[in-house]
């Protein structure tokens, strides 16, 4: 069994690493620094950490003010509040100005678990994707979280980096991380499973099971949701009979939407969306919720069989 890590632990460590390298790194939080792990940076660099209390709107607009004076600002809270509560501040004051504000949002998706619907952001990727200057990364595991954080400081402009609450198994042999480039984890000519975040592990399991059924499934990790690696996606789509797109997010507005936008004109093929289907979340254990919302490897397997067998024009 591969090691499992909290992405937010890795985030806290990466912040300290960056803080040592660059005096211009400033970190903000809104009363969740223990949960987001920005507290790790705060202990090391107390004068460069600002807690705004339960006031996400102020945090985001203040981040813009700091960035206007040359700071690279990391701003963290739960995904629900980072994307929803402070959307106008992120849109008008951070992104319209194209400032170096790196929003690292934790506790995304239904796997937040028992806290229930109010805390389960299933809409955040959609909300961030439609903002013109925004960059989005959804890392699939602990090590990739570090790579995402490091990449975000090298690219000017606003970022939204989406992390989960729970531990995630580390995916071996992903190859080098390159911002904006999809990673083909398994080659396969029958169907392609395109996934991000925690769904990458589910996709790998599904591909293994599909092979036993005689279906060769490619698995593509699209960690960078924006800008989307359309070239890689189209090239994969051209080799297979159908796509299954998987995300712990609404099937509307997220990765699946981006993939469909890319392939619909270049290479129209059947696409099945694994994601949350126009529902709010609810309380439960993460594994129970993944099952309830049809986000398991078994659901991916069924979808893959379906698109593989679908009649083709």
């Amino acid at each position: 069994m591969a090691e499992a890590l909290y992405q937010r632990d890795i985030y806290g460590q990466a912040l300290v690493e960056l803080g040592k390298q660059d005096e211009n790194i400033v970190v903000l939080d809104a009363d969740l620094s223990g949960s987001t792990r920005t507290s790790v940076f705060a202990r090391e660099f107390p004068h460069r950490f600002f807690n705004f209390g339960v006031a996400e709107q102020n945090m985001m607009a203040t981040a813009a003010g700091l960035a206007s004076c040359g700071k690279t600002v990391f701003a963290s809270t739960f995904a629900m509040f980072a994307s929803g509560r402070a959307w106008d501040q992120v849109r008008n004051t951070v992104s319209y100005n194209n400032f170096n504000v790196k929003i690292v949002a934790t506790h995304a998706g239904v796997t937040v678990g028992p806290d229930g619907a109010s805390h389960q952001a299933n809409e955040d990727i959609a909300l961030m994707r439609i903002i013109p200057t925004m960059h989005i990364i959804v890392p699939c595991d602990g090590p990739q979280t570090r790579e995402a954080i490091m990449a975000s400081v090298k690219v000017p402009g606003p970022f939204y980096i989406r992390l989960g609450r729970s531990k995630v198994p580390t995916i071996e042999q992903k190859g080098a991380f390159e911002f904006g480039k999809a990673q083909i984890l398994i080659e396969g000519k029958d169907v392609a499973i395109i996934a991000c975040g925690i769904m990458v592990q589910e996709a790998l399991t599904a591909a293994k099971n599909l092979l036993q059924k005689g279906i060769k499934a490619a698995v593509v990790n699209v960690h960078t949701i924006k800008p989307l690696d359309e070239q890689a996606i189209i090239s994969v789509a051209k080799q297979v009979k159908g796509l299954v797109v998987c995300e712990e997010h609404s099937i509307m507005g997220g990765l699946a939407c981006g993939v469909e936008e890319a392939v619909s004109s270049a290479c129209p093929i059947p696409i099945s969306r694994i994601g949350i289907k126009n529902r709010f979340g609810q309380s439960g254990e993460p594994a129970e919720l993944l099952k309830e919302y049809q986000l398991t490897s078994a659901d991916i397997e069924n979808a893959a069989v379906h698109v593989y067998q679908a009649p083709h024009p």
């Binding site: 460069r48 600002f50 102020n58 607009a61 203040t62 700091l66 004076c69 008008n92 004051t93 100005n97």
Partner: protein
């Protein structure tokens, strides 16, 4: 008649500059055909005094790291900002006639494309946070610049303003000075009727701010307030400036209608005649 003192002479010059700025605002809005004259005219004296007597800035180097920052949180009053910036020499005056036109760097609300504007605004309630961020950056970098933020009275109905007000006191931002253009009108009517903001002074005091109440059209009082703000330590300052919406043009004064409506051709001519006096 006794000769004017140097200070009296200087005040006269500032008042003349403010009159010129008002003329430019009316001309711009007349040509643009849309925009917000009321609040631009009510805060003209505050911002003219700031740019021509208080602010440490260099129109030839808009990004100078040690410049004092000004941020117009009530972004709809940008005709005032643009008129002041061009009069200071940030860009040629003829650019003013491109306000709100396609491709212009003078957008309908402030935008970083404009020389002298470092942060966009327009969606109300966010600018005090922007100023707070600039203030914190100054402290981190041990720079001695000051930060000035212009707020509207209707704008302080936004919750984000009070989040920022709380934090600016918490972080002891004594390099931050807000100016409240208290003209008593907002788009839908009188502020007290749309959504009461009184008691304004006790509100800011209870949030830990130093407050200074002035007549926002009295140049000596305005200059005195900026000087007093500079002396305040450990806490931020707000200058609560009682102003008249549409100040300087008789038929625009206290007329709610001119919050967000540009003057017609006839109104423009009439207003210019009044201002040229």
């Amino acid at each position: 008649m006794a000769a004017m003192t140097q200070e009296e002479q200087s005040i006269k010059e500032l008042e003349a500059t403010a009159r010129k700025i008002r003329l430019l605002i009316i001309q711009m809005l007349g040509k643009a055909g849309s925009g917000h004259p009321g609040g631009s005219l009510s805060s003209t004296d505050l911002i003219t005094a700031l740019y021509f007597r208080i602010l440490r800035h260099n129109p030839k180097d808009p990004d100078w790291a040690d410049r004092d920052r000004f941020h117009m949180s009530k972004g709809h009053c940008c005709p005032l900002w643009y008129a002041v910036l061009s009069t200071c020499g940030y860009f040629p005056q003829e650019k003013l006639w491109t306000l709100r036109k396609l491709g212009s760097f003078l957008q309908g609300h402030p935008d970083r494309r404009t020389p002298g504007v470092s942060v966009a605004s327009g969606s109300l309630g966010q600018g005090l946070s922007v100023g707070l961020g600039m203030s914190l950056a100054a402290k981190l970098d041990r720079r001695d610049y000051r930060v000035y933020v212009l707020l509207g009275d209707g704008e302080i109905q936004e919750g984000n303003i009070w989040e920022a007000a709380m934090a600016a006191n918490h972080y002891k931002c004594d390099n931050l000075c807000a100016m409240l253009d208290y003209n008593g009108c907002q788009i839908d009517g009188r502020v007290e009727e749309v959504m009461k903001i009184e008691p304004v002074v006790p509100k800011w005091r209870s949030f830990g701010w130093h407050t200074i109440e002035i007549d926002g059209h009295d140049m000596p009082q305005i200059l005195q307030a900026y000087e007093e703000a500079r002396m305040v330590k450990v806490k931020p300052t707000i200058i609560i400036a009682h102003t008249i919406k549409g100040k300087g043009v008789s038929f625009m004064e206290n007329a709610v209608d001119f919050h967000g409506r540009a003057p017609t051709k006839e109104e423009t001519e009439k207003a210019l005649k009044e201002l040229e006096g």
